[in-house]
Amino acid sequence: MAYAGYEATGGAVRRHRAIKILLAGGFGVGKTTLVGAVSEIRPLRTEEPLTESGKYVDSTAGVERKTTTTVAMDFGRITLRDDLVLYLFGTPGQERFWFMWDELALGALGAVVLADTRRLADCFPAIDYFERRDIPFIVALNVFDGSRRYSVEDVRVALDLDPSLPIVLCDARSKESAKEVLITLIEHVLYVTDTPVAR
């Protein structure tokens, strides 16, 4: 993308502000759907180290050592202003993908942990990860088929989350709902950085 005021030869290139937000959650919880609801979803591939059990792929011939295979990520971009862009990265929640998280988490503003109340345990690794790295996060419960088996407070207890940590219900297919999730996260970041915010 081009930025207004850019001069190739001058030292004064206008720097754009890139806000990086992570979206973590278990397989099939709706990460791709949520990214697609609120932004233009774009292709992005990265590499996964091959484990002993994952030696089934031989598409990396030419690598010094055959240690990686390619995985797709959810990547969405929301241009808020010419010089202010939100980048959303949806990453699989399992520990074996943490090598990707380590790259994504560096410099991330915050994270959304997307959870399915039928499989709450799937989001434990993500919550642990963000707590350990002091990355502000919220939990969004994707409500499937309009059914929810637990209240927000039940989930808070089950996940052992601080009362100040927002838990929101969402419909990952809805743009308005996805927007509310992101707004809740930004408000939470303002809160945890000790900044009063007028709602």
Binding site: R17, T67, R77, A108
Partner: protein, 110 residues
């Protein structure tokens, strides 16, 4: 299926200092470098960076894995053909309130 690391001649690590996924890539006016070592993918990346753009946007547009694009960008940086600028807000704890308010305002207006 393309063999992604063939375009880096088997290298799996970028040269030089690490850079952020959302760092801005800017093409310089340097034209003195020896271009003979560069492959077609290097030129594809250069083309995409004619206007300042981010590492991740380039990776998405050029349709190569992120790790490969990092290596290509690091090569171009070594030759002085691009500079790679760290993004302004590097961490939640450092981002300014005004920017966060702008983000909120922008999101509400989507």
């Amino acid at each position: 299926m393309v063999r992604p690391y063939a375009v880096t001649r088997g290298r799996t690590r970028p040269a030089g200092a690490p850079f952020d996924l959302v760092a801005t890539v800017i093409v310089t006016q340097a034209r003195t470098a020896d271009l003979g070592e560069l492959g077609p993918e290097h030129f594809s990346v250069l083309q995409l960076a004619q206007a300042p753009t981010t590492v991740v946007d380039i990776a998405s547009d050029v349709d190569l894995p992120l790790g490969v694009v990092r290596i290509l960008l690091a090569d171009l940086r070594e030759l002085g053909l691009v500079v790679i600028q760290a993004p302004i807000p590097v961490k939640a704890r450092q981002v300014d309130r005004e920017t966060l308010r702008e983000v909120l305002h922008g999101l509400r207006g989507l």
